[in-house]
Structure formats: C-alpha cells, structure tokens
C-alpha cells in the first residue's frame, strides 16, 4: 500500500477511535457537565473527519452548532438541575455498564458493514440537479428549510421559557 495512503488510513482509524471514545465517555461519565464536554469533543473529532472527507460546509456547521451552540445550551440547562444524591448515583452506576456495553459493539458492526457499502448514484434521474455551491443551495432551493429551522429554534426557545424560566 502507498505509504501516504497508509498514514491517511491510520489517521482516520485514530480519529474514529477517538470519536467512539468521546461518545462512550458522553454516556458513561458521572457528571453531566463532563458528559456535555465529552459530547463537544466527539463533535470536534467528527468535524475533523468531515474536513478530511471533503465536506467543509458540513464540518463548519458541526463545529459551530453541535460543538459550540449545543454545548452552551446543555451547560445552561445543566446549571438549572439539582445534583444527584449518593443513592441515585450508586443506582445509576449499577445499571450504566449493563445499559451501554453493547453500544460500541453495535456501532463497530454497523460501521464495518457500512464501510463495505458502495454508494453509486443511480443512472441519471430526470429533474435531479446537483448543486455543489452551499451558498446557492442554502439561499436558493433550501431557503424554505432555513425558515423551518428558524421555527424549530423558536419552538425550542419557548420550550426553555415554558419549562425552565420559573426554576431560576
């Protein structure tokens, strides 16, 4: 194998392992704040993978929204939550391993399966237009989705107002 390809492959494997570890840490860590940070770490690694897979726009959104904005929202929400009692923590720990040990196995199996899957776009379908410029895609044919996302965000804001505001 070409040494460059070998290095590339090794880097990808390391990144994927890091992402998997980050994901596991997210569900296994005892403290919610640490879990939120582990999730942000997972998003950052995923973002690097997206850059490497030549999807820079997706990577930018992953970094800004998932690693950035969502972490802030999680930490804000966590700050409103009461810490768990010792008994609750002990009960949680007892079930945690049983609950999650299968998860990495499932992920690895699905990942290996998908890596053998070759995606070949079907023969040209009439009407299908592939837009490669994200700016045109977002402000042209996908403008309606942006409006939809504004509405989802508004609904989320009302969720915070309705469910958390009086807790302060």
């Amino acid at each position: 194998m070409d040494p460059n390809l070998k290095t590339e492959l090794l880097a990808n494997v390391i990144l994927m392992a890091a992402m998997l570890l980050g994901g596991l840490a997210t569900v296994m860590l005892r403290q919610l704040v640490k879990a939120a940070i582990a999730l942000a770490f997972t998003s950052v690694v995923l973002c690097i993978l997206m850059f490497k897979l030549a999807a820079p726009w997706a990577a930018v959104f992953e970094l800004s929204v998932c690693a950035g904005l969502i972490t802030v929202v999680f930490i804000s929400a966590i700050s409103l939550v009461k810490p768990a009692t010792e008994e609750e923590r002990a009960a949680h720990m007892r079930f945690k391993v049983r609950r999650y040990f299968l998860l990495p196995l499932v992920l690895l199996t699905v990942g290996c399966g998908l890596s053998y899957m070759t995606v070949r776009p079907l023969p040209v379908v009439a009407g299908a237009e592939l837009i490669t410029d994200m700016r045109i895609l977002l402000w042209g044919p996908r403008a309606l989705d942006l409006l939809g996302q504004i509405l989802v965000l508004l609904a989320g804001v009302w969720g915070v107002v309705v469910l958390f505001k009086e807790e302060k």
Binding site: P121, V125, G127, G148, L151, V152, A155, W158, L163
Partner: protein, 477 residues
C-alpha cells in the same frame, strides 16, 4: 399565497411578543382570525370550488392539490377549536399566552408539512410541529405531563432517526430529495436493495408517528396527560398530519402502493382497528379512552390506504378517497370529543368516568354534541363518519379483502360499545353525588363544540353533493 400560511403564524409569534402588554390580549382574536383565513383559503382550493388557484410560488410549488387543501382545512378547524379550549382552560394568563405561541408554531409547522414536496423539507416541518407538541404536553410540569412528553419525545426521536437515515440513503442514490425525483428513481429502480431499505425505514418512522399498533406506546400517555388545549390540538390534528398525512402522501405520490407496502398497511391497520377498540373498552379515564379510540380510527385510515395498489382500480380509488375522508372526519369528531372532555373536566373537576354520571341534564350542549361525535365515530348514518367508513369497507370488499372488510364492520360495533359505555357513565343515568352543582361549560367550550358538530352533520347530510365533486377527485391520483 400559500407561503403566508407559514409566515403569518411566525410573524404573529414575533409581534405578540413585542414588549407591549395589550398585545397579549390579542392572541385569541389573532388566532381565530388566522384560522378563519386559512379555512377560507383551503376551501378555495377544494376540487369543487377551485377556479383560480395558485399554481406556482417560490417556496410552495404546485400546492394545487386537493389532499393538501383537505389537510389545511382540517388544521384550521382544529386550531380554531384548540385556541378556544385554551382560552377557557388555561391555568393563568402567562401559561395561556405561552401555549398560544406554541399553537401558532405547531400550526406553521403543520401547514408547511402539508405543502412541501421535498422529503427533507417535510422532515423539518414535521419536527416543528413535534417540538411544539412536546412542550405543549409538558407545559404544566406535572409528573403525568412530563412522562407523556418524554415518551412522545423518545419515540419521535426514534422515528426521526429512521426517517433521516432513509433521507440520507435516498439522497445518496437519487441525488435529490424532491418527491418527483425520488418517485422517478423508485419507479425505475424499485427493487434496488438500499432503496427498499430507505422506503422501509421511512414507513417505519411514519408508523411510529401515526401511533399505529404496536408502535403506539407513547400515544395514550401523551394524549391523556397533556393540558386540555394541547390534547385537543395533538389528538385532533398533529398526529394526523405528522404521521397519517405524511404516510398517505408518500405512499401515493413517492413510494408507490406496491404489494409489500399494501400488505404492511393492511396488517398494521387491522391490528390497530381491533386492538385499539378493545383497549378503549377497558379504560375509565375519558381522555385515555379517546386516545385508544384514535388508534383504532387511524387503523381504518391505514386499511383504506392499503387498498391503494389494488388491481381493481375503482376499489383503489374508493379506498384512498375513504382514507382521506376518514382522516378529515376523524380530525373533526376526535377534536369535538376532546373539547367535550375538556368541558367535563373543567366543570366536574375529574375525567374519571367512575366518578361521573347524569351530566347530560346539567350540560345539555356538551352532552348532545358528544352524542353526535360518538355516533359519527361509530359510523352511524347519516353522520360524516358513516360515509367514510362505508367507503373504506366497500373498497376492501371490492378489492377482495373480505376478511379485512368484515373486521372493519366488527370493530365498528366495538366502537359503538365503548362509546355507549362512555355516554352511560358520563352523561346518562342518575346524577352522581358531587355533580349537583355542575353547570354547562362557558361559551369558549360550547361554541367550538357546536361548530364541530355542525360540520359533522353538514358533511354527512351533504355527501351526495360531495361525493362526485369532492371525494372522488380528492384521491390525488
């Protein structure tokens, strides 16, 4: 302009929240006006009356579609009833105002959902309606509401994951998520393994969203635990739009009613019709009984859709027309029953049917409209529900599915049985001790009840005029 049906609710939310106190008092009139505007707009698009409908717009291309207009009309009517229920039952002004905002957002989401012709856009608008619904259910922050919202959230997340995976597969293979392109690709390469997987995943997600048995786990808790206005909206139209409408649209216009899809729909529909009705029989909470009744009625719609691919073209058309008609009717009679449940709960202080009785003499309007809704649900002529069930059962029989047709008739008797039990325990018999001081609910609950009952009666009586001009053209082929 179709876009206004999404933009006006968004603007309403923004304007009502400007820091001016008097604006809060405008929430109810604004919502009612918008519902009336939407109903008029939708009626203009119905097949019988459409003469100069919009055919092209930047965002909503070719929304000139009878199925869309039926749904827009149903959304308008249910939203109209829900805002009145909210006005009558909100625990305080602040909670009520927040719920008004969420209803506006849910309506915007549902309107967008029924007008888009793209899988990814459909997913986004579906999420708007779902997110607003989770919050509406949990809004009172009591244990039941939080549990109901959590179950709905978890099951919806699962459905969402399946739909997104399906969209990703379809995008990878078809190069687009537009209905037209995906339908063409599926038509040309329907036996492609990954495409079949994508179709299966999407249909699975929609069955969860529709609350079809055995994917119904979230539905009774969500409907029963939600505040009155939220359960009216969610049971009346949200699950019908996010689950059942999307299923009808995609099966008819994108995935195609193949033999496998047809069998899947008939089996799940039949399970829901029977198991939902049997489960409803055992309930003592009024809203829980209505929730199980919903599962059963949605089963009829799904069975009607299951005939869409039948070799007998007339049966196929009849089945689809029946499914869409029953979707509309179900939205109306189920909303009416939830408005009645809200009236009973508000006036008598409980929904437990074992603690109620003889309320018809104290609440004549609620009792009478509830009776009408019950007869419509059970399929008693000449009410609207009778005709839609008749169309579905006739379609099943003509398509050669005699067993499913007989099962539909049998389940109708079960429907009558559980609703007679509801009527006897709540409205008839001797007045229960503790109910002596109960009075008829206020105008905010009786007005929507009367409007909904009039629609049920009017649609049923006017069927001979509706069948040729509206019902058969609405099939959407």
């Amino acid at each position: 302009m179709p876009s206004l049906l999404v933009i006006i609710p968004l603007l309403a939310v923004l304007l009502l929240n400007l820091p001016l106190n008097f604006l809060r008092r405008l929430a109810l009139p604004a919502a009612v006006l918008f519902a009336v505007y939407q109903a008029l707009f939708a009626m203009q698009l119905l097949p019988a009356s459409c003469t100069a409908c919009p055919t092209h717009e930047r965002w909503f291309v070719n929304v000139l579609d009878p199925l869309t207009s039926v749904l827009l009309l149903a959304i308008a009517v249910v939203a109209f009833a829900s805002v009145f229920v909210l006005h009558a039952t909100a625990s305080d002004e602040k909670h009520g105002f927040n719920a008004f905002n969420l209803i506006f957002l849910a309506v915007a989401g549902m309107n967008g959902l029924v007008m888009v012709r793209d899988l990814f856009s459909m997913y986004i608008f579906l999420e708007i309606a779902s997110v607003a619904s989770f919050i509406l259910i949990a809004a009172q922050r009591d244990m039941g509401g939080l549990e109901g919202a959590f179950k709905y959230l978890v099951m919806s997340a699962l459905a969402t994951m399946m739909m997104l995976a399906s969209i990703a597969l379809l995008l990878a293979y078809c190069g687009s998520t537009s209905f037209m392109v995906v339908a063409e690709a599926l038509h040309a390469h329907g036996s492609h393994g990954y495409l079949l997987t994508a179709v299966g995943l999407f249909l699975g997600g929609l069955l969860i969203k529709s609350g079809i048995m055995p994917f119904h786990g979230w539905l009774p808790d969500a409907y029963a635990a939600a505040p009155a206005a939220a359960s009216t909206l969610i049971a009346g139209i949200v699950t019908k739009t996010t689950g059942v409408y999307a299923l009808i649209r995609l099966v008819l216009h994108v995935f195609g009613p193949s033999v496998a899809v047809q069998q899947l729909l008939l089996i799940f529909g039949a399970i829901s019709v029977v198991a939902g009705a049997l489960a409803a029989l055992g309930q003592s909470d009024m809203k829980r009984m209505l929730a199980y009744s919903s599962i059963s009625q949605v089963g009829y719609i799904v069975m009607g859709l299951g005939v869409a691919g039948a070799a007998n073209k007339f049966a196929a058309e009849l089945g689809v027309a029946g499914a869409i008609f029953h979707l509309f009717n179900h939205a109306i009679f189920k909303t009416l029953l939830f408005v009645n449940a809200a009236a009973v709960e508000k006036q008598a202080g409980t929904r437990d049917m074992n603690q109620l009785g003889g309320l018809a003499q104290k609440m004549p309007i609620t009792g009478l409209t509830s009776l009408l809704a019950m007869f419509a649900t059970a399929g008693v002529p000449p009410l609207a529900g009778f005709w839609s069930k008749l169309l579905i059962i006739a379609a099943l029989w003509l398509a050669g599915y005699h067993g499913y047709a007989l099962l539909g008739i049998g389940a109708s008797l079960l429907t009558l049985a559980y609703f007679l039990s509801l009527q006897r325990r709540v409205f008839f018999g001797l007045l229960r001790a503790g109910c002596e001081n109960v009075r008829e609910a206020g105008w905010a609950l009786t007005v929507p009840s009367l409007v909904l009952a009039a629609i049920l009666l009017g649609v049923g009586v006017a069927l001979p005029w509706l069948i040729g001009s509206f019902l058969l053209p609405v099939k959407g082929f």
